[in-house]
């Protein structure tokens, strides 16, 4: 009965064999070293948190395990056997499943059809639905197999994704930032579920940058920093402070990598509160009264929102995905016409949308044309290209955009430099109001600090600033006042984590 590769039953097994082990993993993207001799060992029956800052290589490492990418060097063992995971379907065959941060569901299809996707042979809707019900019941997840995915809320879509993986009998489930899109209540439920699922003998890898999530639920923790594994430990043995140090790097390294001014900004940010408004705010610049508005699909997202923003303050909006913040920001920035209510906004507004690739830049156009894009609707007659080139050069210098010149395409800039260009464009000419949506999303440490500094400088220069961030910690760091948004309504809350968190869920502010 002993098949090749299975350890002989008579030999002593001091430790349970790791389910997955990755050693010395290196992976490059062009000139960038994304993973540098990284390692990860996942034991069966555990929740394993993989922590790290944006760009630390967490997702890349697990994408390698899921066969979406191949390592340049290093060894992957699955149940002790050296293994090459050639593709996601190969991974699924072996028992490795992954739920991505951006869901991979077909909206036009039902849950059952989505779960069955990628299999072979005949498809029987009734049997497929029964199977989904069965898998969901055993796993303790509520899903309706006949529901069309396009009609599901985010939480239900995520459960559908998990059921999709579980239906393939995976033994190792990788969840990439699963709580990022969830309301705190839903996130807590999901984390509790991963615990129960691991206790039943499976393994879960939780990719996250939230220390609280990691320590709350994980057995083991691996911390990645700049592509290297810097810490692997039992969760019991560490504190949040330990993990934070490991993620950000020791004092020495911080000093080594950060420029003096940037270090000052970081330190100022760390000592929360210091960076907040020092002088009294000015008159109301930006206001909404009783505003109602719909999204592109006609769903009412704002149900009577009232907000006043004064010159010289940063107002933070806290909300879970889909609470109406997108519409609120666009109404304030005059990108969306409200159905009813009164909006008063100045003529000059800087608007920094979350998705710069889709909403802020024409990637194939040169930088100076991208600068000229701002409010081009109001322009008449000829374009003064020489002037725009000059303005672009000024932005490049003032915002430290790393580029060989103003004539290259926006596509060839890195994400951080693209965002600096957008900021420079939108803050040019000292607009009276600035509306920013997740302005540091996808940016590294330094670029984030630069974005924060720019927004603070605009505030100190007398602008009324509204910021939404999906990262509550960023908001607490940046905002002078915080409003929580829940289901299309808005209320001011105290500036502490717990109160805001409750208010986002619709609890008392």
């Amino acid at each position: 009965m002993t098949a090749a590769g299975v350890p002989s039953p008579v030999s002593p097994l001091p430790l349970p064999l790791p389910l997955l082990s990755m050693e010395g993993i290196t992976r490059r993207f062009g000139p960038t070293l994304a993973l540098d001799n990284a390692s990860l060992v996942v034991r069966p029956g555990t929740v394993h948190a993989v922590l790290g800052e944006n760009g630390a290589g967490k997702t890349t490492l697990l994408r390698l395990a899921f066969g979406m990418l191949q390592p340049d060097a290093g060894m992957l063992r699955w149940r002790g056997e050296p293994t090459t995971v050639a593709s996601p379907s190969d991974a699924l065959r072996r028992g490795i499943g992954m739920v991505h941060q951006h869901f991979t569901l077909v909206p036009a299809m039902t849950v059952a059809e989505n779960v069955a996707l990628g299999e072979r042979g005949m498809y029987d809707p009734a049997r497929a639905a029964a199977r989904v019900r069965d898998v969901a019941r055993r796993a303790g997840l509520a899903v309706d197999p006949e529901a069309r995915v396009s009609a599901l809320a985010v939480g239900a879509q995520q459960r559908c994704e998990i059921v999709k993986a579980l239906a393939r009998d995976v033994e190792l489930l990788i969840l990439d930032e699963p709580t990022a899109v969830l309301a705190p209540q839903e996130a807590a439920e999901l984390l509790a579920w991963t615990r129960a699922y691991a206790d039943a003998g499976h393994a879960v890898v939780l990719i996250t940058h939230k220390l609280r999530d990691a320590l709350g639920v994980a057995d083991d923790v691996t911390v990645l920093r700049r592509g290297r594994t810097v810490l692997t430990t039992a969760a019991r043995a560490v504190t949040e402070a330990d993990l934070a140090d490991a993620m950000i790097g020791g004092e020495a390294e911080k000093a080594e990598k950060a420029e003096p001014e940037e270090r000052a900004i970081v330190e100022a940010e760390m000592a929360s509160g210091v960076a907040h408004r020092s002088s009294a705010p000015g008159p109301v610049v930006l206001s909404a009264r009783g505003v109602r508005a719909r999204d592109g699909r006609g769903v009412e997202r704002l149900r009577g929102v009232t907000l006043e923003v004064r010159a010289g303050e940063i107002v933070g909006i806290a909300a879970v995905e889909g609470a109406g913040q997108q519409e609120l920001l666009r109404v304030l920035a005059r990108r969306l016409a409200p159905d009813s209510g009164v909006v008063a906004s100045p003529d000059t507004i800087g608007f920094i949308p979350e998705d710069r690739h889709h909403d802020a830049l024409v990637l194939d156009a040169p930088l100076y044309e991208n600068v000229a894009l701002r409010d081009v609707a109001a322009r008449r007659g000829r374009m003064t290209w020489a002037a725009f080139r000059g303005e672009t050069r000024r932005i490049i210098a003032a915002y430290d955009v790393r580029t060989p010149g103003e004539s290259i395409s926006a596509r060839s800039l890195s994400g951080g430099n693209q965002q600096k260009l957008v900021l420079g464009r939108e803050l040019a000419g000292a607009p009276a109001a600035i509306v920013a949506e997740n302005p540091s999303r996808g940016l590294d440490f330094r670029a984030t600090a630069a974005v924060h500094a720019s927004l603070r400088a605009a505030r100190d220069g007398g602008a009324a600033v509204v910021v939404y961030s999906s990262d509550l910690d960023e908001l607490l760091l940046l905002a002078d006042r915080i409003f929580a948004m829940h289901d299309g309504t808005l209320a001011e809350t105290a500036r502490d984590r717990e109160t805001v968190g409750r208010a986002m869920l619709g609890g008392a502010a």
Partner: protein
């Protein structure tokens, strides 16, 4: 009374006859579009199929003529697949080029091989095969079941494609590629393989349509004899709401519009502006497009060039 019945039978018989090549090409286009590939080079595949069928039928017989037609369609569709699926070139531009290419190639080969235009080449044809029993039924039986064998292939293929599309995992994968390629890729469906096979299938079906024009109808090859049927197929797929059975119905409607011309002429009604009847299905297609509910919309990733290969 019997005059009316005869007229009705003739009209229906002609509608089915005209609808047959349209339905063949449209079923292929339906599968291709469900996989996210709109092929306006279908016109080229039809004319290639027609020439392939002409050459092979003269040399080795009618049956192999159909096979050769399908093969010729596959060959030109392979070029389309190479550009659109493997190089991710724009589908509309490539389709336009393929139509031009096929028109040029078939014209050049035909004239070079069989002499200048005017020398009509006559091929054997298949006649109608009455289905015993059913064809004796008045009106529907006499029109739908007194047709060449290739028409019966359409009757079989439409439900078969429907079944495949909605009751097999491969069909599920195909629809997923057309709706949300990222999701299909994540589930292990290969977009390249799926789309290539879909495009080649559409090519084979368009080739069969071309073979039908020659071997079941005209009995000869004429340059440009596809006369826009590849584009009509795109209209039919829209009117049929991207469903094989809907495509069958829409083909019949377009076939009926085309048959009116013939019927009017046979009745001696020369003053009837038949062009207006020909225009009706296109108008209907536009109206359907405009009023289609979300469910009857085109596949979400139709014509999408890049697959988000992140």
């Amino acid at each position: 009374m019997s005059d009316a019945l005869t007229l009705g039978t003739d009209l229906l018989e002609a509608s089915v006859r005209f609808a047959t090549p349209l339905a063949l090409a449209s079923l292929g286009e339906c599968v291709s579009e469900r996989a996210g590939v709109i092929n306006i080079g279908l016109e080229g595949a039809i004319i290639c199929g027609a020439l392939g069928a002409t050459v092979a039928a003269g040399a080795v017989g009618v049956g192999l003529g159909f096979a050769a037609g399908a093969l010729a369609g596959v060959a030109i569709a392979a070029v389309f697949a190479l550009f659109t699926v493997w190089m991710r070139a724009d589908q509309i531009i490539t389709g336009t080029a393929i139509t031009l290419l096929a028109a040029g190639l078939t014209g050049t080969l035909y004239r070079s091989t069989f002499g200048a235009s005017g020398v009509a080449l006559s091929t054997p044809t298949i006649g109608a095969t009455a289905v015993p029993g059913i064809s004796a039924l008045p009106l529907l039986g006499a029109s739908f079941f007194n047709q060449p064998v290739i028409t019966y292939l359409v009757y079989v293929l439409a439900p078969l494609v429907t079944w495949w599309m909605f009751r097999t995992h491969a069909g599920l994968g195909l629809r997923a590629i057309g709706e949300r390629p990222e999701a299909a890729i994540a589930a292990g469906v290969s977009p390249r393989l799926t789309q290539t096979l879909a495009v080649l299938f559409a090519g084979a079906m368009a080739g069969l349509a071309g073979a039908t024009l020659v071997l079941a109808q005209a009995g000869t090859f004429v340059e440009g004899m596809s006369s826009g049927r590849g584009f009509i197929a795109i209209a039919i797929v829209v009117l049929g709401r991207w469903h094989p059975m809907g495509v069958l119905g829409a083909s019949l409607l377009f076939g009926a519009a085309q048959s009116l011309d013939t019927v009017f002429q046979s009745m001696g009604w020369r003053e009837v502006p038949y062009q207006l009847f020909l225009a009706i299905p296109y108008l209907m297609t536009l109206v359907v497009l405009a009023l289609a509910s979300a469910r009857a919309r085109a596949p979400a990733a139709l014509g999408q060039k890049e697959l988000a290969e992140k």
